[in-house]
Amino acid sequence: MTAVLSGFVLALVAPGLYRRARAGAGWLLALLPLGLAGYFGSYTEAVAAGETVRASYSWAPALGVDLSFCLDGLSLLFALLITGIGALILIYAGGYLSGHPQLGRLYAFLLLFMASMLGLVLADNLLALFVFWELTSLSSYLLIGFDHERAEARAAALQALLVTGGGGLALLAGLLLLGQAGGSLELSVLLGQPHDLRGHPLYLPMLLLVLLGAFTKSAQFPFHFWLPGAMAAPTPISAYLHSATMVKAGVYLLARLHPLLGGTDAWHALVTGFGAATMLAGGLLAVTQTDLKRILAYSTVSALGTLVLLLGIGTSAAVTAALVFLLAHALYKGALFLVAGALDHETGTRDVRQLGGLWRTMPVTAAAAGLAALSLAGFAPFLSFIGKELVFEAVWAAPGAGFILAPAAVLAGALFVVTAGLTGVRPFWGAPRATPRPPHEAPLSLWLGPVLLAGSGLLFGLWPALVAAQLVSPAVTAVVGHPQHVLLALWHGFNLALALSGVSLVLGLALYLGWNAIRRASACLEPLLNRGPAMWYEVALRGLNRLAQGQTRLLQSGYLRYYLMIVLVATAGLTGATLVRRGRLASPVDWSGLSFYDAGLALLILLATAAAVLARSRLAAIAALGVVGYSVALVFVLFGAPDVAMTQFLVETLTVILFVLVFYHLPESPAVSHTLARLRDALLAAAVGVLMTGLVLLAGDVQYHPPISAYFAEHSLADAHGRNLVNVILVDFRGLDTLGEITVLAVAGVGVYALLKLRVGAQGHSAAGSTEVQPARTDAAPLEPEPGPVPAVNGAPQDGGLALANPAAEEGGGR
């Protein structure tokens, strides 16, 4: 817990520290990961003894969601790799980018990443795991885009983020399903009491989602394309994130969930299949490249494929092979990347065709590169030799598919040899070539990393016992699910694995010699390669863009009318759908009780409405509007609501006056709508009208259906002690309304006032301003008598009138 947090904290202060310490910052900062490595190292004994260390922090106890961490064999292996290599990378970065103005930021991002990665491998809670997973994607995004002036780097950063981040979301869904099926989000609980998730009805979706997450992160075919792009990052980043640690997160996840999800036919088929495809595709693509970093990137893809393949096989031999191979790969691939960076730094190019004979000028780097290359090629006595033997053994023994997988593994091994030759041998041997910069030996900070990494690969190879019991065994135990004791030895005797190893070496050497021919051949395949997954990514991105654009144009036109229209159509549509679903479109129409007056009144309203709509001149329209209002008030009179009618009369009068005052002196505007537009609007309006009529008829049907109204009426009467029901309601139940109404009207008044005031302030035309004060004044005056006829709402209009009057008075006074 503290370990993880310390990284985040240090990330925050790193830029400040860099400003102070400058050149020494890298060394200083490296102390943290070194300390952490020591800290984790101190647990080795305990973990090897089968213990699991945990720490927990309660986040949402009601849900049983805790932020908990646990350290078992698998976590420990990863944690040591992350912190150990992390320390070297921090030192290396200081030398590689020395003097770069943004170096402080780089440190911050690197530490951020390191902390996230630690969190990822230590997390016990599936959600916490996901969180750290996304944080690594994010910090990877920041790191790839570090060189943000270059559009290429930005695009690559984005691509990496979209692919891994998108996969992460699939992972989230998968993990949540997993948590649901297993009844807990804690890994330790899930692993401890294995509900048999493999038989769960949701097993397949769960597996697919988790695999999607793991495959995107670990750059499995067909998602491998982001990794070479990510090489736009500065080399230390590529070495750390895109080779040694982050891309192994997917492998970690597969290993972690293997006891829960592994061992089924689907697991075997999918994981092994994609792993094998990636292994071959990565290897083949690697040997067609000429850029050192791209070669290494594709070879990393191939190695990741191998790891996934082994986990797909899932036997304890395969798991052992995977973990040993993982360790070895982290060591030599990290070293090679750093060498590539040093070469780039000292010579100014990463094109293998331009490099040669550098051992004379860069002996230490050459030695480190040589060791790492031998290791990559799988020569004895390196750790990777042991790993390779184990791989061949495990693959050959894979149930059911060994005879297909073994040749594939051999071919991949051969391609590794080619890669090793290209990256570790070719630049240093042979005739010296002209490079953009005169080469010289790299400084200590640049060769320390490669030497230590490559050296430990040799060391562990010579004394495999160093890692076998303490590191690999507990890790294998964690993955397989029951205790395992791994014995590693350099010499396995003459067996099939050794033979396969020999075959792949010879084949690899042959291929290396014929490298130029291979490259020429691959050039013919160029068009095919261009149609790879990277293109589909482009297409998808463009499609999304276009979708967004289209939607924007279609929906967000900026025209008020269209917004209104859509709202109307949506509401009417929803309502209509409800009606249709219930199958109640028509109900018997009740024409009873229709008197002559009613009919006349209705006709009057209809005619006036029509006049208001059709009128050419504004005044006529206003007059017609007034008629509509008064007639509506008459309807209220007819049906026992004199209070309402009085209010309506008053308000209507005011409305007409206001309209006339505001619009009288404005010029008439020409009709601008097309006939077609009018027709469309009329249709829409008619539809709304018909719908409303239908709804009202419907409402008439079901009125007072539940008995509640009687109960309520009785209750309110008993409690209120009032006789005029309107009064009772207004005074009792709507006591607050009065205050609300006052306020609302007051604010409306202020609004009117503010509008007028603003204009005066903005334009300073006091003459124009004074004509505008008129409406406000007129609002105020006639409103005042209203309280009389409408005792019930007396508070509201009175104060409203006051509020409207006041601004007008102030306005007048202010001038």
């Binding site: 986040w59 949402a60 106890p61 009601a62 849900l63 049983g64 969180v131 995004y141 920041l142 885009g145 943000h148 930005r154 981040g165 979301l169 869904a173 949540l176 999304l544 979708l547 967004a548 939607q551 924007t552 929906l555 967000q556 008020l560 209104l564 709202v567 949506a570 509401t571 929803l574 309502t575 009606l579 219930r582 709804l695 419907l698 049907d701 079901v702 259906h705 539940p706 509640i708 109960y711 309520f712 209750h715 409690d719 009792d732 139940f733 709507r734 006591g735 607050l736 309304d737 205050l739 609300g740 109404e741 609302v744 409306a748 609004g751 503010a754 302030g761 903005a762 509020a803 006041n806």
Partner: protein, 509 residues
């Protein structure tokens, strides 16, 4: 039962709102005599403080429990002070204080009194709408929010864009109010009462599966009317245009306040609040999980997809506001099912939690933009934020917190909120599991798409070199507003339990 006591109770309950409203009226009147933005901002902070003080008084909160216990008074009480109301009132007051701080230096001296008075009325409206147990009161409370909002929209800026914003908001708002009123009148027509408790009891007593058709129509209308306030698709159209046109303070106000009131109203009217001894409802809201399902899916998707292409920060935040409304609608869709299966986190509870979280992060984001803007050089587009991490490291960090929270990054409020909502969708029991898992999937995809446009802003702040210098003198009220929002955002992310429990008590699951 003594009716006078009850009546006194009613006024007592609304005391903070009454204080706010009356003070606002005083501010309107006195505004002419003193034109100083510091003075009026101080005053309104004081008034909010007074209202908060009343809230804190023991005698004020005392009625909470008796009102729970007594079923009958609820039937006639136009307002109730249950835990939902109390929580939302606290949120409204804190939000109001933040908005005052935020707009401290954003309003001109001569309009400060009016601006702050309008703000106080709005806050009173939110409090009232949280308490409303009567359709008429609710309608009024919502108007108390809307009308001052129109005024504020107009007060703050006077260019063409602002006018467009004010006009559009006004017209569409009036229209939506009409729809709402329509829905209310149908509800009334159906049950013969405007009291929400009585109304919902009436609906419960009808055959649960076959609510009268008219109730469904009313439901649609209420949702459409309130959909405008919460910016649910297709009632969201105004949001981007209005946010862009108006000032940053008004945009923040629009993003936060109507959502709180709208969701509070939805929760109450559609029977998502089950306090005390009332059983989980079968009334309106439960009839329409599918309606909310569709609304949620549409709202999230439209909001996020449209935000992808935007370059204007206010538009981005507007679409983000739409998208987040979509996430919250998930809670309404799942609430009925989750209530029946007694899930760990209910739908309504998650909505309340998310409302608070969303308020903090979105107001905070707007406050940062306002803090960095000057009238001469406003922060309009993503490019304007380029390199802010270097000129204003602390503010940039807090902006990053808000954006991470909007994305849903862990240890921020946004993550906790999204987590509770999505978890709810995943937990719906088997019969409808597939449907709601799909919703969770849509939500996850949306969150991913959403991350992209927020990250663009973060990337601009941290990865790019400044295009122009931002030299705004530091002002403490603005910084304080940002800091409060950041603190809430982080606190809710790190330790969500207290609010989660308060939300649970509020909706009574």
């Amino acid at each position: 039962m003594n009716p006078t006591v009850e009546l006194a109770n009613v006024y007592l309950l609304a005391l903070p709102e009454i204080v706010l409203t009356l003070s606002a009226c005083l501010l309107f009147l006195a505004g002419t005599f003193r034109q100083n933005r510091h003075f009026w901002a101080m005053k309104s902070l004081g008034i909010l403080g007074a209202a908060a003080f009343i809230l804190a008084l023991p005698f004020y909160r005392q009625p909470v429990d008796p009102l729970f216990a007594l079923q009958a008074p609820n039937m006639v009480q136009p307002i109730v002070l249950d835990r939902l109301a109390l929580l939302l009132k606290i949120v409204a007051l804190i939000g109001g204080a933040v908005l005052v701080l935020f707009s401290w230096n954003e309003v001109s001296d001569d309009l400060a009194a009016e601006y702050h008075a309008c703000l106080l009325v709005i806050i009173a409206g939110v409090g009232l709408s949280a308490m409303a147990n009567d359709l008429i009161i609710l309608f009024l409370a919502l108007e108390m929010i809307s009308i001052p909002t129109y005024v504020i929209l107009y007060l703050q800026k006077t260019d063409l864009g602002a006018r467009e914003a004010a006009a559009k908001y006004f017209l569409l708002s009036v229209f939506s109010t009409g729809l709402l009123l329509f829905g209310f009148s149908y509800l009334y027509g159906l049950c013969g009462t405007t009291n929400i408790t009585a109304l919902l009891d009436g609906l419960r007593s009808t055959d649960a599966g076959r609510l009268p058709l008219i109730a469904l129509v009313a439901l649609v209308m209420v949702v459409a009317g309130l959909g405008f306030k919460i910016t649910a698709v297709p009632f969201h159209f105004y949001a981007p245009d209005v946010y862009q046109g108006t000032s940053l303070t008004s945009a923040a106000l629009l993003a936060f306040v109507p959502k709180v009131a709208g969701f509070a109203a939805l929760l109450r009217v559609l029977d998502f609040v089950w306090p005390g001894n009332r059983p989980p409802g079968v009334a309106l809201g439960t009839q329409a999980p599918i309606l909310f399902w569709i609304l949620a899916a549409m709202t999230m998707t439209v909001g996020n997809v449209l935000a992808l292409l935007q370059d204007n920060l206010k538009r981005i935040l507007a679409y983000s506001s739409v998208a987040h409304a979509g996430y919250m609608l998930i809670g309404l869709a799942t609430a009925p099912e989750l209530a029946h299966q007694a899930a760990a986190v209910g739908g309504g509870q998650a909505v309340v939690f998310y409302l608070v979280s969303y308020g903090a992060m979105t107001v905070g984001a707007f406050a940062v933009l306002a803090y960095l803007s000057t009238p001469q050089a406003p922060i309009e587009t993503v490019d304007d934020l380029a390199g802010v991490s270097r000129s204003h490291p602390a503010v940039a960090l807090m902006m990053a917190i808000f954006l991470f929270s909007l994305i849903g990054m862990p240890l921020t409020a946004g993550f906790a909120g999204k987590f509770f909502l999505f978890l709810g969708a995943l937990e719906v029991r088997p019969e409808q599991a597939v449907l709601f898992r799909c919703l969770a999937l849509i939500a996850a995809l949306n969150a991913a798409a959403g991350a992209w446009y927020y990250l663009r802003i973060i990337a601009a702040m941290y990865l790019r070199t400044p295009l122009r210098a931002i030299d705004k003198p530091a002002t403490w009220p603005g910084l304080a507003a940002i800091a409060v929002c950041a603190a809430i955002t982080v606190a809710l992310g790190v330790y969500p339990t207290p609010l989660l429990q308060a939300a649970k008590a509020a909706v009574g699951q």
